[in-house]
């Protein structure tokens, strides 16, 4: 199979070092322009035109990062650094990457069409010199892209007859590349080629986590046409897609792991379910690639066909863990609250891991970590016994905590404002990126300077909902209800990391925990979500956009925990916090249905950025007779207002890891009829039995 051959080819690491900026600086060096955007455009043009194209023997869709590898002398390196200092890029907080380009318009108009739009806009702005100059710089980059396609076509033709290359495929590549210099894509293959090359361009600019977005929407008209005419079938389309997606993993050459979000499913402009034949091809292509990098998200609505959701579960069950399942109703409601137009909300996708994004209509996104647990710790650790034991009720305690959080949110936003401030925005423009964001061409403005239809947004990633809820539950239960513990005692125990306080620690651990469908603890998760969202709703980004909240810790819950003292839930110092929107590891003891009942209690229409709930199932849960139960589980969870679920099949690797590190998997359940067991309690040889069962079912 061609994909496997391409995988083999890609194992060959390029020589030299990855330095696209070297080529960009050639443009800066030669530029005779004085306007910063125009100089920048000359740099980008050089970036697109100077590196020699690279075509893999098994490429169907071209566009590789290999051309950006080069051998540099120390002198050249110094020069590159100097130029990059002279023409600095924005950073993550200033709207640099994490963006979903408007591929819909790009595919509809093609590069020549986009250039045409720019020409139109120049006419409309004839009295606005600044706009005309910026439009001219945008055009410069697109013209360079045309040259890049021409160079790839030449390269393809030049490789004909060379060992290992297929002349027919090379002809097709050359034909597609040339066609894209002349008009909008006329076939699915050309559409995909255009999008993949654009993605390659953004990557070469140094942008990370650039989403491919709703590929089953913007390529669907071409797909449908070609399928109908018999030009392609689903298998070939899948092959083309996987051929492009596999090259996302090229970033490993330079020790990076790009996160390219791809979104399937969801609804059309009018809000009707938009799952189509291409959605399935994308799903299967990601499964075929079978490597992390193409980060697949599936938007699931009430009327998403069971067959599609089941297809997603099958792919998850291979051990890949993708796609992440997104509850469309909740996400759209959350975005609507932020004032976007309905049709734009319907077209949202995700960037990075899970972050909701209005496709091609707002500047690149940023986020930061907000640790509510620190403020709880602050109250307990930095006050004397008299003060602590003078707190008379849980309400009083919550009022204090809320006050601290409120101040914390204010400080956080100040910090974010400082970090996202760009003193001379006109020197930090993105003429190429702006071509792919709605309104930039029409307004003749940069994406970060009023060109984008909507202002920038920022996501405050709230850490440790499980840890905070468990702490508050433990404090309420032991200090204010049972009155068996004093707050000052908890403070002492925390300062000593519970050493010598084992009895107290057990008492605290015995209090109700989030994730067991127990109102006592769950009410704090509900409070946490709405209170913190209220707090951040008070603030705006510098250009007037929303500050979203998210619960998507990724692995930062581990780092956040490392710097923290012990906590009132009995957690020891340095241990991880609860992850994302999930309950604390091992504390959701009643089983997955209870966990999901708890986790769906908070109002996630407040978390416009998105949340993550991780759940692991043994591979047998994905068997043909069983998978439907998993599907129904998700349907109920979503109907109750859960926002997201990321399911992992406990692969052989995980089961093996759990044998070595039982602490990491306290609640990993293995199920057989009439029986289930906590995996880590099993004897080694029995764990081996399960491993061999797992192998059989794969």
């Amino acid at each position: 199979m061609i994909l496997n051959k391409l995988k083999e080819e890609m194992k060959n690491k390029p020589s030299g070092e990855y330095c696209p900026n070297y080529f960009r600086c050639k443009g800066y060096e030669k530029s005779r322009e004085s306007d910063p955007s125009k100089i920048r455009a000359d740099g980008i043009a050089a970036l697109f035109t100077c590196p020699a194209p690279y075509i893999y023997k098994n490429d169907l869709i071209v566009g590789s990062i290999r051309p950006f590898y080069t051998v540099l002398s120390e002198n050249e390196k110094k020069k590159v650094a100097e130029y990059m200092l002279k023409y600095p890029e924005r950073n993550f907080f200033q709207g640099f990457d994490h963006f979903a380009p408007d591929y819909f318009t790009a595919v509809k108009l093609g590069i020549p069409g986009l250039i045409e739009s720019i020409n139109e806009s120049v006419k409309n702005h004839k009295d606005d010199e600044k706009a005309v100059i910026f439009l001219q710089s945008m055009k410069t980059t697109l013209c360079a892209l045309i040259k890049k396609f021409e160079a790839y076509a030449d390269k393809a033709n030049g490789l004909k007859g060379k060992d290992g290359y297929d002349d027919n495929r090379l002809s097709k590549i050359a034909e597609n590349c040339i066609a894209l210099t002349k008009s909008a894509p006329q076939s699915f293959e050309q559409g995909l080629q255009l999008v993949w090359m654009l993605h390659n361009c953004f990557v070469s600019e140094g942008r990370y986590a650039m989403a491919l977005g709703r590929i089953d929407r913007y390529l669907y008209p071409l797909f449908e046409k070609d399928i109908k005419s018999g030009l392609i079938d689903e298998d070939y389309a899948t092959q083309l897609i996987s051929n492009a997606f596999l090259k996302i993993c090229e970033s490993r050459y330079n020790g990076a792991d790009d996160v390219v979000n791809i979104c399937i499913g969801g609804v059309d402009e009018e809000g009707n379910c938009s799952v189509n034949g291409l959605s399935y091809c994308v799903l299967h292509a990601v499964a075929d690639v079978n490597m992390p990098g193409p980060n697949l998200s599936a938007r699931i609505t009430e009327d998403t066909p069971d067959d599609f959701l089941d297809g997603c579960l099958k792919v998850i069950g291979t051990g890949l863990g993708y796609p992440a399942l997104m509850n469309d109703g909740v996400n759209r409601a959350a975005l609507l609250r932020k004032g976007y137009e309905q049709k734009d909300v319907n077209d949202f996708c995700m960037v990075g891991c899970i972050e909701n994004f209005i496709t091609g209509k707002q500047p690149p996104w940023s986020d930061g970590r907000f640790d509510p647990i620190c403020f709880l710790e602050d109250i307990i650790v930095n006050n004397g016994a008299a003060y602590l034991d003078g707190i008379g009720s849980m309400d009083e305690f919550m009022a204090l905590y809320t006050q601290k959080l409120s101040k914390g949110a204010e400080d956080y936003v100040k910090r974010i404002h400082a970090m996202s401030y760009v003193p001379e925005p006109e020197k930090h423009t993105s003429p190429f990126l702006s071509c792919f964001c709605d309104c930039c061409i029409e307004r003749g403005r940069d994406i970060n300077c009023g060109g984008a239809k909507y202002p920038s947004v920022h996501g405050a990633v709230l850490m440790g909902i499980g840890t905070v809820s468990d702490c508050l539950s433990a404090i309420e239960k032991t200090v204010f209800i049972d009155k068996t513990v004093k707050l000052s005692e908890i403070a002492e125990a925390i300062k000593h990391n519970y050493e010598g306080f084992d009895g107290l620690r057990q008492t605290l651990k015995a209090a109700p925990k989030y994730g067991n469908n127990d109102e006592f603890a769950d009410k704090y998760a509900v409070w946490y979500t709405s209170t913190l969202s209220d707090m951040f709703d008070r603030y705006k980004t510098l250009d007037g956009g929303a500050i979203y909240t998210a619960m998507a810790a990724n692995i930062s819950n581990i780092y956040a925990g490392r710097d923290l003292l012990a906590t009132p839930d009995g957690r020891l110092a340095g241990r991880p916090l609860s992850d994302a929107a999930s309950p604390t590891y091992g504390c959701d003891e009643r089983g997955v249905t209870s966990t999901l009942l708890s986790v769906s209690k908070p109002d996630y229409t407040r978390c416009a950025c998105g949340t993550v709930v991780n759940q692991k199932f043994s591979p047998s849960a994905f068997d043909d007779g069983r998978r439907e139960k998993l599907l129904k589980l998700i349907r109920v969870y979503f109907a109750r207002g859960g926002q997201e679920i990321q399911i992992n099949s406990t692969s052989r690797e995980v089961l093996q890891d759990a044998m070595e590190n039982p602490d990491k998997y306290p609640t990993l359940v293995v199920r057989v009829s009439g029986f289930s067991a906590i995996y880590v309690t099993l004897a080694k040889e029995v764990q081996e039995d399960i491993l061999s069962r797992t192998q059989q079912s794969l």
């Binding site: 007779g625 139960k629 009439g674 029986f675 289930s676 004897a683 069962r693």
Partner: protein
């Protein structure tokens, strides 16, 4: 208020009947199958399981009123409705507590939730009579067709068990016979043929085969008991496949 002696309540039990189910494991059993995977459900006495390789301790045995159990299992009602699931009573032998099982299945029926009874069937027919108006489905475990093996190894009464199965089928109840495939006990061709013929005569239509596994061994250890099947390996796929072919001749057969 009727009470039940509960070992544990397990949610999202996907191997214990149709749809998403909550399984209520009742404590106490009158059989002594040496391969049993739920040793903590055999004695009616409360027991503590102390797992060796983690510091985990669990208690098996808790008296709960029917109302308490109903409140607990009804939390998952949305999952039952969406998936066609419900509650499974297992154990141990749930029909040793048939009065409580009756109240529980009756209460669930009133709330529109189905009950499946997972029984080994070695109880007086009256115990079945308690639940037949309320239970919706039965998993009926059959271990062998050999009267002597039933008596000597399992300490059960074959005539009583097969008689109960026959009456359930005559009453047109929804019954699936479940047969554990135990190496050295009931896996020879002749064992299988004998079981098949007898079940076929009674009118059994559906059979689930449950290949032996030793996942219960850590529970024996945690209870301080010796597990006779500790070193017995699970049957391989090919052997199970061959047995399925025999059963396929008689029944709609499924491997769990």
């Amino acid at each position: 208020m009727t009470e039940l002696n509960v070992s544990s309540i397990q949610r999202f039990s996907v191997g214990d009947g149709p749809g998403i189910r909550t399984t209520v494991f009742l404590k106490g059993c009158n059989l002594r199958c040496p391969w049993c995977h739920n040793p903590e459900c055999v004695s009616p006495e409360t027991q503590t399981l102390c797992y060796k390789n983690t510091d985990k301790k669990t208690v098996s045995g808790k008296t709960m009123t029917v109302d308490e159990i109903i409140e607990d299992v009804m939390e998952d009602v949305d999952f039952y409705r969406e998936s066609g699931g419900g509650v499974t009573l297992s154990g141990g032998e749930p029909l040793l507590q048939s009065k409580g099982a009756k109240e529980l299945s009756k209460g669930l029926k009133e709330r529109g939730v189905t009950t499946l009874i997972d029984t080994a069937g070695c109880v007086p027919w009256e115990n079945f009579g308690d639940v037949t108006d309320f239970a919706d489905e039965y998993y009926f475990d059959i271990k062998t067709a050999d009267e002597k093996l039933y008596k000597d190894v399992i300490k059960g009464d074959k005539a009583l068990i097969f008689g109960n199965l026959k009456r359930l089928i005559e009453l047109n109840k929804n019954v699936v016979v479940r047969i554990p495939l135990i190496p050295g006990f009931n896996m020879s061709e002749i064992d299988c043929e004998n079981i098949c013929e007898e079940l076929n005569d009674i009118g059994v239509k559906r059979v689930d085969l449950l290949p032996f596994h030793r996942l219960g061994s850590s529970k024996y250890e945690a209870l301080g008991l010796t597990y006779a099947y500790k070193d017995v390996l699970p049957p391989d796929k090919a052997a199970v496949g061959r047995i399925k072919e025999i059963y396929d001749k008689y029944f709609i057969t499924n491997i769990e």
